[in-house]
Symmetry: C2
Subunit: 320 residues, 2 copies
Amino acid sequence: MNRVLVFGAGGVGAYFGSRLSQVGMEVSVICRSDFEYVRENGFQIESGAGDMHFKPAGVYQKSAEYPGYPDYLIVTSKVLPDFDVAAHIAPAVGPETVIVLLQNGIDIEKDITRAFPDNEIASGIAYIGVFRLGEGKIKHQAAGRLKIGNYPGGFISPRVQNIVDKFAAARVDCEAVKDIEFFRWVKLVWNLPYNPVSVIAGGVDTRVISSTPELEKICENLMVEVCQAAKACGKELPEDIVQRNLEYTRNFPPYRTSMLLDYENKRPMEVEAIVGNALRLAQVKGLKLPYLETTYALLRSVNKINLETPFSLPVEIVNE
Amino acid sequence: MNRVLVFGAGGVGAYFGSRLSQVGMEVSVICRSDFEYVRENGFQIESGAGDMHFKPAGVYQKSAEYPGYPDYLIVTSKVLPDFDVAAHIAPAVGPETVIVLLQNGIDIEKDITRAFPDNEIASGIAYIGVFRLGEGKIKHQAAGRLKIGNYPGGFISPRVQNIVDKFAAARVDCEAVKDIEFFRWVKLVWNLPYNPVSVIAGGVDTRVISSTPELEKICENLMVEVCQAAKACGKELPEDIVQRNLEYTRNFPPYRTSMLLDYENKRPMEVEAIVGNALRLAQVKGLKLPYLETTYALLRSVNKINLETPFSLPVEIVNE
């Protein structure tokens, strides 16, 4: 239970892969954009907790190049409708491989569970601020916690417990949880409002949102709807979660959301993973959520127009 | 009853001023941006109904330069919170001057009625597609109708009837109406949804909106709320007005709204006249209108960010 393959080695993948390599795991990466550089030099990770150099055991462009099968295949790529992760990872998924989805959003496991019905699937949430600064250069800005659980939940398997223990040994605050879906909803209470609003309000940071009452009100309305959606899906969130998120964000330093950075850099935004899926889950339960519906429609359109307009800036990645 | 001064001689002002001059009225203009050119050359108006050359009786930069007082002071400038029309026109407003507001939006008369409590105020709506192509060059694209009524309504004064008759003599389809507020709400059923949505959906024309069900749905929701607001203000709109507007727009050629052109050219958008005022009128009546509220908040923010970002394109004006 020692071989790890990270698919999508941006900031999140490089950071957590690096951590696991520090406790003796054999960590390889599939690296599409910086392949040449990373194969030669590995990753340089700047971090307030101490800089790290991470030389993966293997660096590949495609999962078919990976020798044998990993024990854990950790997916940290974005969740996008046009990007078929299952097809990309399939060649490296062996019968015993645990697929660990460290991705944003809600209901993001369905394609993988459908494609690999006999594999153990774990779903995880990363609480981390981490940027790609340039080729093989990663900036770890804040936090670095994980929650990981089997998907669907209800129990924690020995193999999931094993990777959680490895993270813990690597000084990552990593918790094994029996109901990862609950924590996805909890995280969505923040992600769903602030990410889209930061974009559709014209490109604003969290400070601008928090200090503009009518924009903060949109976020509050969206949070209330996320709680309604969660409840309809059987996950009752704490009563004070809306007010806590509003206050927490007011006390942030000005923060540009990952969706805003994607927007500004003309990369596809995780519209479906963060907004569309939540809306559809709620609609299936018969809920009518006007704020979510409106936000989704506008964001989809803005994303489409943005990607159609040719213009490009240096690339950055942040993961809330 | 022959002297006319047009304040805000963009496309709308030039077109209707030109028409009145054709029936022997003495039409002068206050022209800020193209002053030098227009004083020398007048306006050249391209129109499918026949090109027109309009040499105003007088061309001024400020209303104080106008000799004496006009019988009619026709205001065609945009309605913007930072632009004090009352102060700008005051020097040319004599005791007998009728102030005619040919402007977009709802509840846009209040500053003028407050500033000139003893003057006769008329409020009018222009149904016209007219662009400024360049210095003194105007393109009349479509329509060209007017509705004009006394403000507040309930009657049609002899002086309002006189200018309406003059427009009619000049072959403008101009109707005197006793309840202009009603027609402002009717026009808002189109203006309030399509103008903001064309901007906050990322910059899309009406064809894109009409062919994207979730965007058209936002427009429909906004139209329903406009009807609710109108009703709360005592103006009950026809039951089929929402469906008629949706269908009408589906059959448009692709059309970029005036707000979208303002946005693209980094000019201030009429956020308050078209959206904010409607919301406030509804709120005073105790209505809660979630779509209007959300649209207003996003549009305000987008407008602010847009004006803060330095970038400028050639100027165009359209008036729905």
